[in-house]
């Protein structure tokens, strides 16, 4: 009897069936409805912005990354997520630069997938916020009847030249209105997304649906958004109760980038804690920082900085929340 050529591998010889690329590409697919919604609200310019940011991230991964790492899908996620945090009228070269910066500096410089400390999409956005503060805070109004096809800014501006002033209707974001004019926005508009703002911070409902799907597949840890929502909700309710000048919980939860940040940014596998208790603390920290920055900070929105700051605490949270090993009495905190 002649035998087959035998393969030797280590146990276990069965696998659960999920792979890292599968998780990443599923996240990409779950972002498609958000991109579609942004395009619906802000016209084709939205699609261009997301495309430019993604192209920047993918190009950086291709040029500076190791061979074949594009296929794992993580660069695409970074690009799309960054695009969703940008205003619809931002010149495309800026979106491209943001994507490239986030990927190259935020991820590859740390050693590539799995090694980075900070969320690369948010790092890209922080870079753009610092470099192009005006373009990053010019918020076009959502499309009205008849002008859907119109671009929302000088999308094709020549790099480093001053963008042309276009006849575009802009407006303050709900958070800006609340902070600087003390004017509230209708809750229904917040939930549906018919307000000025960055591409992905508009439709809270859609984000919850897409994120819920990922949570059901166990592709994101639901404890992180749950903890963020609970913390923001409790703090906002308490402050609102102290003085009605402070916005209530519903406004705080559904305005700005909180939904996108809590569901898609804070839950980034690499930059969030590995332990479940760590995730609860991580989310609570983000919630606290969001409320602090929004109410007492100089900026109208604080989700980005809240998440980046808590990213830095992740190694410590992991260390402090090690599980109790079976058959031992104490928590064993070890690196």
């Amino acid at each position: 009897m002649s035998g087959p050529s035998l393969l030797i591998t280590a146990s276990p010889h069965l696998a659960a069936g999920d792979s890292t690329p599968k998780i990443m590409w599923t996240v990409v697919a779950s972002l498609a409805p958000l991109v579609a919604a942004a395009t619906y609200f802000f016209g084709p310019g939205a699609l261009l912005v997301v495309g430019a940011a993604t192209a920047g991230a993918v190009a950086a991964e291709r040029v500076f990354g190791r061979h074949g790492t594009l296929a794992d899908g993580s660069a695409a996620i970074t690009g799309i997520l960054l695009g969703l945090t940008l205003p619809a009228g931002i010149p495309l070269w800026m979106a491209f630069a943001g994507g490239a910066f986030g990927l190259a500096i935020g991820k590859l410089l740390f050693g590539g997938l799995g090694q980075n400390v900070f969320n690369p999409a948010l790092l890209g956005r922080a870079f753009l916020q610092a470099a192009f503060p005006v373009a990053m805070t010019t918020w076009p109004m959502p499309a009205a009847a008849g002008d859907w096809w119109k671009l929302r800014g000088d999308s094709f501006a020549i790099p480093f030249a001053s963008p042309r002033a276009l006849d575009v209707v802009t407006g303050a974001t709900p958070l800006g209105k609340m902070k600087f004019e003390n004017e509230a926005t209708r809750l229904l508009d917040l939930v549906l997304g018919t307000t000025p703002g960055s591409l992905g911070e508009t439709s809270a409902l859609l984000i919850l649906i897409c994120g819920g799907y990922l949570a059901l597949r166990n592709y994101l840890n639901w404890r992180i958004p749950a903890s963020i929502f609970a913390t923001v909700g409790v703090l906002a309710t308490g402050l609102h109760w102290l003085h009605p000048r402070y916005p209530d919980a519903a406004f705080m939860l559904f305005s700005g980038g909180l939904m996108l940040g809590a569901v898609y940014m804070a839950t980034d596998l690499v930059t969030s804690p590995v332990t479940n208790p760590g995730c609860w603390i991580f989310g609570a920290g983000i919630g606290l920082l969001v409320v602090l920055i929004r109410i007492w900070g100089g900026l109208a929105e604080g989700v980005m900085y809240a998440i980046l700051i808590m990213n830095a605490f992740v190694p410590y949270l992991n260390r402090w929340t090690q599980p109790r090993v079976f058959g031992t009495q104490r928590l064993t905190a070890r690196t």
Binding site: P12, D72, V325, G327, T328
Partner: protein, 441 residues
């Protein structure tokens, strides 16, 4: 006592037992040669008592126990000792073994022997008889049974747990043993209770074996406190620590043994073997083995002489299919892939799983993305993510401080890892490195 009948964490791999779950156990014809490695159990290898050219009858001793944690080894077929030397061992190494050329026309009848009447023997004599019969745990670890049955005097044992979980996918060895030989299992339990002077026994069986549950329940003796408990199907339910937690709600302290919480755990197949020793007087020279997987033509449950070579076993099951690719001794979660078709089965081989190309695990692997799934599956609550990162940097001492010693190598973390990082292999490597370089490092 109130318990949740569960352990926490673990995984739900596909069961894949349908190939052989309803196939009755059958005997295989004797092969032309059996190979008996001197190391077939945890502890010290046995010491040779035969030389090349010696004739042995079936059941004759070929090696004696060398020390307390050691057991003798017996010829599983009548024949002539052909060679004593290094031979492929199921663990992947070459190890000393006795090759016996089997008599082609032998009736394979053992020498006439006195079968001891267990009802007249005291605990010490029973344990000695079990030891002389070379009985080891048949669940896979092959720990000498007599050692478990004789705990130190200051260690009070109140319960015998009998492990009928068989949580490894594919395998149906214990399942068929319980269905076809429930009386033997019960007699073995009775003898073990007598050895230990214990009044209570609990048999745990996973719910995916209703026929085994029924057979064991039906044969529970009326005069003993033996209870049968159905357990949820979850891997690794059959790990000793998990079984004790589920059935008794007791947590075996880190670095301790079941006896430290008053429990002795034995596999159902070991119980059946003990019964056979006092039934036929024959030592442990054959065992029940599941040969299964989509890579074998006729998946079977077989009574196999210990030392039968993989090649002969595969032939007895109709041979490999065209696309057979990987052969595993044991189950797919913890089993070891075999490189040689000449490798013999040992006392601890619970099954042979033949995987086809499509069943094998893909080789591609990605960096750890810290998803934390391994932490959510580890039944002993280690942090495989951290341990894995340390292992890649060969930081063995730090791994030891992070409780590597508690790792069961059950494979849950590797099974669930989306980046396909070979975590259990890394941990096995680390354990080996730490054994070579004592704790002082």
């Amino acid at each position: 006592m109130w318990t949740r009948l569960k352990f926490r964490h673990g995984v739900h791999p596909p069961e894949l037992k349908d190939l052989t779950a309803r196939v009755p156990i059958r005997r295989v014809p004797y092969p032309d040669e059996v190979v008996l490695p001197l190391r077939q159990h945890t502890g010290k290898p046995a010491r040779l008592t035969v030389k090349v050219g010696d004739r042995v009858e079936r059941g004759d001793r070929v090696a004696e126990a060398d020390g307390y944690v050691s057991t003798p080894i017996h010829a599983s077929a009548a024949g002539t000792v052909r060679e004593i030397g290094l031979w492929p061992h199921p663990d992947g190494s070459y190890a000393p073994a006795v090759r016996i050329a089997v008599d082609r026309y032998s009736p394979q009848a053992p020498r006439p022997r006195l079968v001891p009447d267990w009802t007249r023997l005291g605990p010490a004599e029973l344990i000695e008889a079990i030891r002389q019969a070379g009985v080891v745990g048949l669940g896979g670890a092959a720990f000498p049974t007599h050692v478990k049955l004789a705990p130190p005097k200051d260690q009070a044992i109140d319960t015998v747990l009998v492990n009928g979980c068989e949580c490894e996918p594919y395998l149906t060895t214990d399942h068929r043993t319980m269905v076809e030989y429930p009386e033997r299992v019960q007699l073995g339990v009775r003898i073990m209770m007598r050895c230990l002077g214990v009044r209570r026994a609990l048999i745990g069986i996973e719910k995916n074996k209703p026929d085994a549950l029924e057979a064991i329940r039906r044969t529970v003796p009326a005069d003993l406190d033996v209870a049968v408990q159905a357990l949820d199907v979850k891997y690794p339910q059959g790990a000793e620590k998990m079984l004790i937690e589920a059935l008794l709600g007791r947590e075996v302290p880190s670095g301790k043994l079941p006896m430290h919480v008053g429990v002795v755990v034995q596999n159902v197949a070991s119980a059946a073997t003990i019964a056979e020793v006092f039934d036929t007087g024959l030592p442990l020279i054959e065992r029940i083995v599941t040969v299964t997987g989509r890579g074998i033509r006729r998946p079977s449950n077989l009574i196999v002489p210990v030392g039968m070579k993989l090649r002969d076993l595969v032939e007895a099951c109709g041979g490999f299919t065209e696309d057979a690719r990987e052969v595993i001794f044991g189950g797919p979660m913890m089993g070891i892939a075999q490189a040689h078709l000449d490798t013999p089965l040992t006392k601890g081989t619970t099954g042979v799983v033949v995987l086809t190309e499509a069943d094998t695990r893909p080789a591609a692997s990605w960096p750890c993305v810290r998803c934390g799934r391994c932490l959510e599956t580890c039944p002993v609550f280690l942090n495989p993510q951290l341990l894995g990162q340390l292992a890649l940097k060969e930081r063995w001492a730090e791994m030891e401080a992070s409780h590597l010693a508690d790792c069961l190598l059950c494979g849950c973390c590797g099974y669930t890892c989306p980046s396909n990082i070979p975590l259990p292999q890394l941990f096995a490597l680390a354990k080996a490195a730490l054994r070579k370089r004592p704790a002082a490092a």
